[in-house]
């Protein structure tokens, strides 16, 4: 994207990283880029904690009777794995790290609309995170991340309240971040940056923000009611107290299904940017891809009942939720077809971000297609509550979200850190993660079809072979995740200095220096053309 004014790429750059070194300049910063880095450090920490729980689980499941811990401990492991990964890694990962860093840069603004609110979001997130860690250390919680009642409200005697408070608090961080993005995207776009010129990443962040602001309050209310029943025995969900046990599931999934789209939509946005850049093509069917994000966000609110096909809800309710769930498949398929077509007659290069992005498309395709088994009423009855579900949502959330996140991190790392990482190692890690991921989770589809229920601390011996395969795959996957951690750290000190636009990408964020100055742009850029103007032009594009 060429702009009327170029940011000065002058001598020994003063940037947002070297502007100040004191700890106050980080903990009280109002700079969206620094807040993004605070988030980067914290979500990475939580990813490692959640990953550690996963490692213990996979080791435990190598033997049918359980190799490592007592069943009670195993139950706490999968609960904490879910809570930490979902609420403290995946939901904030792309919006709060990449979104925070990129939203103002991509629209040519100095910062988000409400910088103080932005910092507050991080502190709220942190308080929620600390509550979770406290709960983990004070004995843990064993309800599953889904907190189903009446088990959670009246039977479990673990740290349900502490975790409920943690999730409740963290929700506000989500709401504030979403609000901040919505206002920023509406009000602070550079002159000439119309909606249809926005990078698709912003379309998906916008759709995500809407889900965050509308959905999260429902979760907060639900969790609040759960805590009320748990602490004061107010009968809401427990039939013994006069409550309705399924009411919780309706309320919980009303948020938590859309939450899946909070996790996957930003990844889709990231991948759109990267495919376009490395194929040097405009995204095929730009508007269709943009509106399909909005369609997914809207439909996502209407499908919660598909988690409840076997609860005894009315068959007609099942019918409607099945129908609506199938509808979500359509915009998802459209996106995959459009990304694939973007490659057509492109000029494709295979740097690490592109490999990660292609890995995303592959795994998301498989995750999405296996969703059809679960939208189908007759097959869902058999597969619900088994390892098939576990495999399916890991394909979407880990195969999709985490691949997309890593793809984005590799793409924007030179912008964020001002340094380059070794491309060979990065490409290798992308391949290892893709293979390790499939080895870990593909056997779980078969396990589920064979009938192995999820959340089993021990299991009949006939399921052992597939469990061992899955655990073996997980060890490869684990190595795949460690490699980037090492070279990213390495690159911060030793990596070659990155130029302003190392990939030759369009987009305003590449028009300013790497890393950007605190004020992002010396002068507000003026946008004169669409996103993804990669095609040959009379005058060669800038950077």
């Amino acid at each position: 994207m060429s702009t009327a004014t170029q940011a000065p790429r002058a001598q020994a750059p003063r940037n947002y990283l070297n502007a100040d070194y004191g700890w106050r300049s980080w903990l009280f910063t109002l700079d969206h880029k620094r807040i993004a880095l605070l988030y980067l450090v914290s979500v990475t920490l939580f990813f490692m904690i959640g990953g550690f729980f996963a490692v213990l689980m996979r080791i435990h499941l190598v033997e049918p009777q359980g190799a490592l811990v007592q069943p009670e401990t195993y139950n706490k492991l999968f609960t904490l794995h879910g809570v930490v990964m979902i609420f403290f890694f995946m939901i904030p990962a792309i919006p709060a790290v990449l979104g925070n860093f990129l939203v103002p840069l991509m629209i040519g603004a100095r910062d988000l609309a409400f910088p103080k609110l932005n910092l507050l979001s991080w502190y709220i997130y942190l308080v929620g995170g600390i509550f979770t860690l406290y709960a983990a250390l004070a004995g843990g919680v064993d309800t599953g991340w889904t907190f189903y009642t009446p088990y959670s409200s009246t039977y479990s005697n673990t740290q349900v309240t502490a975790v409920a408070v943690a999730v409740f608090i963290t929700g506000f961080s989500s709401i504030l971040t979403g609000l901040n993005f919505i206002v920023t995207i509406h009000k602070m776009r550079a002159p000439g940056l119309t909606w249809y010129r926005l990078p698709l990443f912003l379309w998906s962040i916008y759709a995500t923000s809407i889900i965050m602001t509308l959905g999260t309050p429902v979760l907060a209310i639900t969790i609040f009611l759960l805590a009320l029943e748990h602490l004061f025995h107010v009968g809401i969900f427990s039939p013994a107290l006069g409550g309705d046990p399924l009411l919780f599931q309706h309320l919980f999934w009303f948020y938590s299904h859309p939450a899946v789209y909070i996790m996957i939509l930003p990844s889709m946005g990231v991948v759109s940017e990267i495919i376009a850049c490395f194929a040097r093509k405009r995204i095929f069917g730009y508007k269709v891809v943009g509106f399909s994000s909005v369609a997914i966000a809207v439909l996502g609110f209407l499908v919660w009942g598909h988690h409840m096909f076997v609860t005894g809800q009315s068959v007609y309710a099942g019918l409607i939720f099945s129908f609506l769930s199938f509808l979500v498949a359509i915009p998802s398929a459209i996106k995959v077809f459009n990304w694939t077509s973007t490659l057509y007659k492109g000029s494709i290069s295979y740097e690490a971000p592109m490999l990660y992005a292609l890995g995303f498309i592959g795994l998301f395709t498989m995750g999405g297609l296996t969703g059809m088994f679960l939208a189908s009423l007759a097959t869902d009855v058999h597969l619900n509550g088994t390892y098939f579900i576990v495999a399916h949502f890991h394909y979407i959330m880990v195969g999709g979200t985490v691949m997309g996140y890593l793809s984005g991190l590799h793409f924007w790392w030179p912008k964020i850190s001002g340094r380059k990482y070794p491309n060979g190692w990065a490409a290798l890690s992308a391949v290892i993660i893709f293979i390790g991921f499939n080895l870990t989770f593909f056997p779980q589809f078969i396990l589920g079809y064979l009938g192995m229920p999820r959340r089993y601390a021990f299991y009949p011996a006939e399921f052992q072979v597939l469990n061992v395969m899955s655990s073996a795959g997980a060890s490869i996957l684990g190595v795949g995740y460690l490699i980037p951690l090492i070279y990213f750290f390495w690159s911060m000190r030793y990596g070659p200095v990155a130029e302003a636009n190392p990939w030759g990408a369009t987009g305003l964020e590449w028009q300013t220096s790497s890393p950007p100055p605190t004020e992002n742009f010396a002068q507000t850029p003026i946008v004169t053309e669409e996103a993804y103007a990669y095609a040959a032009k009379e005058e060669t594009s800038g950077a």
């Binding site: 088990y151 194929a279 009315s314 000029s347 088994f373 097959t379 959340r455």
Partner: protein
């Protein structure tokens, strides 16, 4: 199909039809996965960057293509929706004349009660080739009754009845799993469904400890709790007579009416004030916490038998 190592045993009348749908979706999944992967690999090689300053021509997109790849997934999901929903609907209702067994889930065991009085724990004996309807409830948290070989699954909820049915087509012992996380020993809430020849099943029912029938057990509970003090048979008591009530429409004090089915009888026992029969006062005490779920089921069986004294009970149609 039976011999595939990646397929659970097919041991019920519906297993085959569920597997056919499963295989169809698997085929679609493989087809599209391979299609997308192949296209991507082909493009990756064919359109690889040959020189650093290559600038391919822009392609806007294509409306016909967008319509095509909106239409194709729409068509596929439409087929799947119709197929799976009709299969689900067909399997939702137990066939008339199904035999009934009552199942109670409890941390961490399955208890089953046959109308003839046989009780068992973590085992469920059923005859081959006869449709069996299970009426299920939980004493504590939510459990889930799952028999992979039958392709059936239904949550077992506290405070209400759910039901499922199956007809076994194969002799043998099959896993019964709890598929809804229910606490510390969730993984140990495993039982077996034992499918027997019908005559062996009859022998099994008759053998062992001669238990009372559920109806007889229910009559005893009825007596012990003094229910008959108010629910006098001729209708002159403080509560309505229970003769001929089961399966019938009951007029309520709020002007509505309700069918007296298992769920209604249960509710009337535990939350008597919820639906008051027209012409009576809300004076019945709650038996919540005083009766076990099994005693409630026995009472239901007894009241059901009272219903038969005047009229044949209708095939009760629960959701």
């Amino acid at each position: 199909m039976q011999g595939l190592p990646f397929q659970p045993e097919q041991a019920s009348t519906i297993a085959r039809s569920v597997d056919q749908l499963y295989l169809f979706i698997t085929a679609i999944t493989f087809f599209f996965t391979i299609l997308i992967f192949s296209i991507i690999f082909y493009f990756m090689i064919k359109y690889r960057r040959r020189s650093p300053d290559e600038r391919p021509k822009a392609i806007e997109g294509s409306l016909p293509l967008e319509i095509l790849w909106t239409a194709i997934p729409t068509l596929i999901v439409a087929v799947l929706f119709v197929w799976s929903s009709s299969l689900y609907f067909r399997n939702a209702q137990p066939p008339p004349g199904s035999m009934e067994i009552f199942v109670t889930g409890k941390q961490w065991m399955w208890k089953a009660e046959h109308p003839e009085g046989q009780r068992e724990i973590n085992e469920l004996h059923v005859p081959l080739g006869r449709p069996v309807k299970l009426t299920m409830t939980s004493e504590d948290v939510i459990h889930d009754f799952f028999v992979p070989a039958f392709r059936v699954k239904k949550d077992v909820l506290p405070g209400r009845y759910t039901s499922l049915w199956f007809e076994a087509t194969k002799l043998g012992t099959f896993h019964l799993f709890c598929a809804q996380y229910c606490g510390a020993f969730h993984a140990g809430m495993i039982g077996s469904v034992i499918v027997m020849e019908p005559d062996e099943y009859e022998q099994w029912l008759a053998g062992g400890v001669p238990g009372e029938t559920m109806e007889a057990a229910g009559r005893k509970v009825f007596g012990q709790n003094g229910c008959g003090t108010c629910h006098v048979a001729d209708g002159t008591g403080l509560g309505p007579s229970l003769l001929g009530v089961y399966g019938q429409q009951v007029p309520l004090s709020n002007g509505q009416s309700v069918v007296a089915d298992d769920a209604y009888v249960r509710e009337s026992l535990l939350i008597p004030g919820a639906k008051i029969v027209k012409g009576y006062k809300p004076i019945m005490p709650s038996f919540q916490g005083q009766l076990t779920e099994e005693q409630v089921l026995d009472l239901v069986a007894y009241i059901r038998s009272l219903g038969q004294e005047q009229t044949k009970p209708k095939e009760e149609g629960k959701k």
